[in-house]
Symmetry: C2
Subunit: 261 residues, 2 copies
DNA sequence: TCGTTAACGTTGTCTGGACAAGTGGTCTTT
DNA sequence: AAAGACCACTTGTCCAGACAACGTTAACGA
């Protein structure tokens, strides 16, 4: 087995048409080995020094190739332990047309929703929060932030801010923020979400258990009561390798009622 | 001015409490210099060798710090030219509830929509395409792929596949695919989109004019005719630094009509 | 038996150097 | 004045080696 693996990466000193950079060839070799099933999810790659010796390149070059693949999520590195082919993570789909909470969502698909509390407290609002929630500097806000887990795997970081009037006791929020809101009659009925992609910084990456610089889906959500008042301002970061958002679109009606398009 | 910049990064050999890795300190120094406006968008950073001399670290360490910032989009590197603070790009917002084409979308916000054709032709379907479009291996598909530009800036790569029956002459598609479909009475009225985040590979990054490994919003869209037949299967990659998707959500109705939730 | 320690192998950080390849300007030639 | 050659300077790739930080595991001691 090791012979097979070693065969893949072996490159004699003088041989081969070197067209591109070495680290790109090596990267392709590793990708191919995984695609062909020679290396399966969970398998360990040869150690960097071995790989360097096999491919007759320096360890720096090996690291360059490996880090590219770690960035794309194909490999996982564990300090002091080794480099492994990433296990296949099945993506969770989140429908975009209905307003649901994480807890409800996971329950519906039979996964265990857990939370890791990062913060539950009352603060002075940031400028951002003042604008979005329509508060003055004298009023205060409740912040509720946590890591969301499904079946024990961290999926998302959720940082919610609400007016302290609407949620006066953030420490009493249980598993579901929406449940707590419903209890005081402030459950939102409408929300606007802004979806973007970005890279995770070191802190958030650590919270989600992925390497820094991994891609994330970022959601900014502003929720409204039926009265039109803003309830909640939430910024979430979802692991890109574990989350899809699904939306259904419809063709804009051919101006049957509207006047100016 | 150069003195100011040099002052930021100067680090005497023996001095300073080295708590973390050097490249992280250096990265923070650069971030701070930009945040404080000492380096403004468009400004060039000192050359890597100079930076290395200033901070008294090796060039490899400088490159490590700089590459991290290039990955997040804060810096831009041009081979042979230098490293620059990235210009601020204003994000384009895409509403998610209405089915629109890129061309219509840009026109509505007063931007010039352009295309760079990558491919317009008829092919045998890939397995993926056969499944999604419901075709047999004998039928053929039209593929239409292009880079989408707004005001000259590449924003997205769009790769559409349609049954050749629905679009027999892909070469005749003009600026708008939907316009071409409407002309033959096959304009879709409904679509399902799946949104995810990922990193751009070298090829796509080059097409979008961003460094490889930059984050992207990936959209997979399946469009339907009013008859329910699948029209179009499109995979798009949007630059994460230039695109937001906006969606409006509503609370799930309290089971008024439906039976099993 | 069970916890502790120590050795070993792994990835992480960093050095100082080298050459290749691309850019943008000057300077020469036409 | 325009075209081309050239040169200084930049980033890109790559090397061989060193030490640090972390895990795993096996040997050891209680």
């Amino acid at each position: 087995m090791d012979d097979v693996v070693s065969g893949i990466f072996t490159r004699k000193p003088g041989e081969g048409a070197r067209q591109g950079p070495l680290y790109i060839s090596l990267r392709r070799d590793i990708e191919r080995a995984i695609a062909q099933g020679i290396l399966k999810p969970g398998d360990a790659l040869p150690a960097e020094r071995e790989l360097a010796a096999m491919a007759d390149v320096s360890r720096v070059t090996v690291r360059r190739a490996v880090q590219d693949l770690v960035a794309t999520g194909l490999l996982v590195q564990r300090h002091g332990s080794g480099t492994f082919v990433a296990p296949h993570i099945e993506r969770v789909e989140q429908p975009l047309s209905v307003l649901t909470s994480f807890t409800e969502d996971m329950a519906r698909r039979g996964m265990a929703a857990d939370s890791l509390w990062l913060d539950r407290g009352i603060y002075a609002p940031s400028p951002d929060e003042m604008v979005v929630l329509g508060l003055s500097a004298e009023e205060s806000v409740s912040r509720v932030s946590r890591v969301r887990l499904a079946n024990g795997t961290p999926l998302a970081i959720e940082r919610a801010t609400l007016s302290a009037q609407i949620l006066p006791e953030p420490a009493k929020v249980g598993d579901s923020l929406y449940a707590a809101l419903a209890k005081v009659g402030n459950r939102p009925v409408r929300a606007i979400q802004r979806i973007s992609a970005a890279l995770l910084d070191d802190g958030d990456a650590a919270l989600l258990g992925v390497p820094p610089g991994s891609p994330s889906l970022n959601i900014e959500r502003i929720s409204y009561l039926s009265s039109g008042r803003v309830v909640e301002y939430t910024r979430s970061r979802y692991r890109a390798d574990a989350y899809d958002f699904v939306a259904e679109l419809r063709l804009r009606e051919p101006e049957s009622t509207g006047r100016t398009s």
